[in-house]
């Protein structure tokens, strides 16, 4: 078990700054996710921890020991790849036992450990098959078994679910999380899928263009984004401009062009600079309530509907402001052109500096 710490970690490719001064602590035994769009530097960080890339500056420490100069094969890390990377010319048993060879594990112990690892990933008795004979989901479980059988200090997962189809992916993420929880290994998970990150993580690190945007629990990054990028990346959010009218210890009073004035609790305005006169108001689409009666709320018109069965996403216009609203629905969705009343609870709004 181990704690991983990145201190001022920088990676440049020529003139491109892939990672800019990352300071991150991956807690012992926790499942930490690096979340961001492609090219944000999350995979580069993972590869630097693994030893597959050399940092341009800064330190990587495991349990306080600087490991920058330790070669990959001496780091004792478990690595799971997007494309599984099972050795095609070796059987499942040989694949899983591969890492045990270099750890002085005896033949008979190795057989027992391989069996145990296959039990953990719930694929017992397939030691003699070849990777090509397994499905994608099975191959990914074997890749996981191969990584955990060596009892690594840290488990590094590089988009391990993205090559699987949608149903299998949801099944695997529950199972992956359960296995991680059971063996308690410190895990670093890289993904661009916000729902995967929210479902699996103890802590999420949201990244954009080489910068760490926010570090927090899934609940924190979802409900208390500290930047517009985080709010937008983690699900559909509305961002509305506003003017700060009055401010005191308990509340902030802002006015918007089309949604009237809002009285936000001060706790929702920690991201708003003390001297700010303008504020970005962020409100999640599921917090925008549509009332069939236009008189109850701010009058608006439905411009488009994205019907998803149990959910419907409405694109509405209030004056000159476009908003998205998401609603759980039991019957048919509201039709395009319907007049509705928009209600937004100021407690659901976050104010950020412009």
């Amino acid at each position: 078990m181990a704690q991983v710490e990145l201190r001022n970690l920088v990676k440049n490719y020529g003139v491109v700054n892939a990672v800019k001064h990352a300071n991150i602590v991956f807690q012992d035994g926790a499942f930490t996710t690096l979340l961001g769009p492609s090219g944000c530097g999350k995979t580069t960080i993972l590869r630097m921890i693994a030893g597959l890339e050399t940092p341009s500056a800064g330190d990587i420490c495991i349990n306080g020991q600087r490991i920058n100069d330790v070669p990959i094969h001496k780091r004792n890390l478990g690595l799971v790849f997007q494309n599984y990377a099972l050795f095609p010319h070796k059987t499942i048993g040989e694949n899983i036992a591969f890492g045990l060879k270099y750890r002085g594990v005896s033949k008979s112990d190795a057989v027992a450990k391989v069996k145990n690892a296959l039990d953990i990933v719930r694929l017992p008795g397939i030691e003699n098959r070849y990777p090509a004979q397994l499905s994608g989901g099975q191959q990914q479980r074997i890749a996981l078994a191969r990584a955990i059988v060596i009892e690594p200090d840290v488990l590094l997962l590089d988009e391990p679910l993205s090559a699987l189809d949608a149903n299998l992916r949801e099944e695997m993420r529950i199972e992956l999380k359960a296995i991680q929880h059971r063996i308690g290994v410190t895990s670093v998970f890289v993904t661009h899928d916000q729902s995967e990150a929210l479902a699996m993580s103890d802590k999420i690190i949201v990244m954009s263009a080489g910068n760490v945007e926010q570090i927090g629990t899934p609940d924190e990054v979802y409900n208390r984004p500290t930047s517009e990028f985080v709010a937008r990346f983690l699900g559909a959010s509305n961002v509305v401009g506003s003017r700060v009218e009055k401010r005191d210890e308990i509340s902030v009073h802002v006015t918007t062009q089309d949604l009237g004035s809002l009285l936000l609790p001060a706790a929702n305005c920690t991201g708003l600079g003390a001297q700010a006169t303008q504020a970005k108001i962020i409100v999640r689409s599921e917090k925008v309530i549509l009332n069939p009666d236009p008189a109850k709320g701010v009058p608006a018109v439905i411009k488009a509907v994205d019907y998803q069965g149990q959910l419907a996403r409405y694109f509405i216009t209030v004056g000159s402001t476009d908003l998205q609203a998401m609603a759980l629905i039991a019957q048919a969705p509201l039709q395009v052109g319907t007049q509705v009343g928009v209600c937004i609870d100021p407690a659901d709004c976050i104010a950020l500096s412009q």
Binding site: P71, H73, K74, L77, L79, F87, F98, Y130, A147
Partner: protein
């Protein structure tokens, strides 16, 4: 429809033009007559027996085999290493090195042969068997590099990265993962190298020390005096050998791949 018949006819003509000479050699090898020609007068194996008693030819065959094997080992080893460097590492002047490695294919063989000869003269080295091995390795190297490089490009690096992360050092990773995965290409490259050396005549004439003959130069020498039917028999053996080895290899490769994966 007519066009298709024409096309078929034309294709048959092309193949006939390509393979008829080989077929003639194969058939005439069994001709009993002293001065071969069609129609064949009686079938016999007498030229094969005569061939087996001809010491000069057996010596040449032995020389060719040893030469082929030596060049194969050297060209394959160097080719694998070069392909690894070109595909897996980035370094300054990579394009120049690539061009340089491939250049023996581009340069006319005579020029290459004379060039190496002048170089050896400059070093005050006599023509020798060693020079032949060296020269043939140079000729075969580009083929090995190209074949292995193509295969290696198709092997994703994450296999090697996975092996490294599991505790295998760079050398262990090469022998347990990379080499087995590129083995088919290594096999093909080695075969190329052997066949190129075994069939080579142009450069060999320049490089061989006096008195040393390979099978092609021996045939060439024999042709200068007369067209002996023995040459047809020797031709038969050579054709069987150069065709048989790759076919056998392909068969073996198929057998192994079927029983492993």
């Amino acid at each position: 429809m007519r066009v298709w018949y024409l096309l078929k006819f034309y294709t048959i003509l092309v193949y006939g033009f390509m393979f008829a000479p080989i077929l003639v050699v194969l058939l005439l090898a069994f001709n009993d007559a002293q001065f071969g020609g069609f129609p064949i007068q009686g079938v016999s194996l007498r030229w094969f027996y005569k061939l087996a008693e001809n010491d000069a030819i057996l010596r040449a065959l032995k020389t060719s085999l040893v030469l082929g094997l030596c060049s194969m080992v050297i060209a394959t080893t160097l080719g694998i290493l070069a392909a690894l460097a070109l595909v897996r590492y980035s370094f300054k002047g990579k394009d120049i090195v690539t061009t340089f490695l491939i250049s023996p294919i581009l340069v006319p063989e005579t020029v290459l042969a004379v060039g190496l000869l002048i170089f050896m003269r400059w070093l005050h080295m006599p023509r020798s068997f060693g020079l032949l091995v060296l020269g043939h390795s140079i000729i075969a190297l580009p083929f090995v590099v190209l074949v292995v490089q193509a295969r290696l490009t198709g092997i994703r690096t994450d296999y090697e990265e996975a092996a490294r992360s599991l505790g295998a050092g760079p050398v262990q990773t090469f022998f347990s993962i990379t080499f087995p995965l590129m083995l088919p290409a290594v096999f093909a490259g080695a075969l190329f190298a052997f066949t190129l050396s075994f069939d080579n005549i142009t450069a060999t004439i320049f490089w061989r020390p006096s008195g040393m003959e390979t099978v092609p130069t021996q045939i060439f020498g024999m042709l200068r005096n007369s067209v002996s039917p023995e040459i047809n028999a020797l031709g038969f053996v050579m054709i069987c050998f150069t065709l048989g080895v790759p076919i056998l290899a392909a068969g073996l490769a198929r057998y192994f791949s079927k029983h492993k994966i």
